[in-house]
């Protein structure tokens, strides 16, 4: 979805938002949790395996791309208001992780591709980086 907006000095700004459903297709993703929320759209993504770094990000409704699959990935995302996590290289998503993600309406997606590949594809498609 492309939105055209104008800022306070009347400059045109293009905002590209993609739904999780569109994102999953691009990265050959398999949705593990919260399929009912696939129409959620995101504008920004952050790639990291370092949860301390994720906790410094102030942007909301964010997509996290990571290779770290444990309960703290979900907890950190809960605290950081991350709406969707993509796990690269088919990392195993445990049952407890799914339960916690469901409780927090968080979409979990598995992709066979590397974090670098996923990030590159989504950047190319128009998803913005934070820093």
């Amino acid at each position: 979805m492309v939105e055209k907006c104008f800022n306070s000095i009347n400059q045109e700004i293009t905002i590209i938002k993609m739904t999780i459903s569109e994102i999953a297709k691009i990265i050959d993703g398999r949705v593990i949790c919260c399929e009912d929320r696939l129409s959620t759209s995101v504008e920004y993504a952050f790639s990291s395996d370092l949860m301390s770094d994720v906790l410094t990000v102030e942007k909301e409704n964010l997509l996290l791309i990571t290779g770290l699959a444990n309960l703290q990935t979900i907890r950190t995302s809960e605290m950081s208001d991350i709406s969707c996590i993509i796990f690269g290289r088919d990392k195993k998503i445990g049952e407890e992780m799914v339960l916690l993600a469901r409780e927090n309406n968080m979409i979990l997606v598995e992709s066979p591709h590397s974090v670098f590949h996923i990030s590159g594809e989504l950047y190319k498609a128009g998803i913005k980086s934070i820093y």
Binding site: L50, S52, L55, T56, N70, L71, Q72, T76, M79, D81
Partner: protein, 141 residues
């Protein structure tokens, strides 16, 4: 509103349970989202610190109309050089803590960033106390 929770050192499966419970309470109290996010992130970092470094700990949360005070008290090795521990990048975390995505030496600095005041006191060999205050309405402090 006051409540107290206990934390067990090394219990990574439960790290974040208290911050999650506080997040839900702050939502029910209609606390401004940006304020509530700062509080839960500082609290979560504190919880992870106790789990990662201490043997046991207690978190006291006190919410009133103007501020939220959190006191995290642990029994553990303590911090010999607090100034050094506050430096970004300095960490004594074990490989297990790093495997969980923490231990990069960012926790204390992020707690400071996400609170309006932070005090740390520590006795090496006994434990550490961190006291955080965050004002619910900006500029209330």
């Amino acid at each position: 509103m006051q409540f107290r929770h206990k934390i067990s050192g090394g219990d990574f499966a439960r790290a974040g349970n208290i911050a999650s419970a506080v997040k839900k309470i702050l939502r029910q109290l209609n606390i401004d989202h940006s304020v509530s996010k700062r509080i839960v992130i500082a609290l979560y970092e504190g919880e992870v610190n106790v789990v990662a470094h201490a043997y046991s700990g207690v978190i006291d949360v006190d919410i009133d109309e103007i501020k939220i005070e959190t006191t995290i008290t642990d029994k553990g090795p303590g911090i010999a050089d607090i100034e050094k521990a506050m430096e970004e990048g300095y960490s004594t975390a074990t490989p297990q803590v790093r495997e969980m995505g923490f231990g990069a030496g960012m926790g204390l600095a992020n707690m400071k960033k996400n609170s309006d005041s932070m005090k740390i006191s520590s006795v090496p060999g006994e434990g550490t106390t961190v006291h955080l205050v965050t004002y619910i309405k900006p500029n209330a402090g």
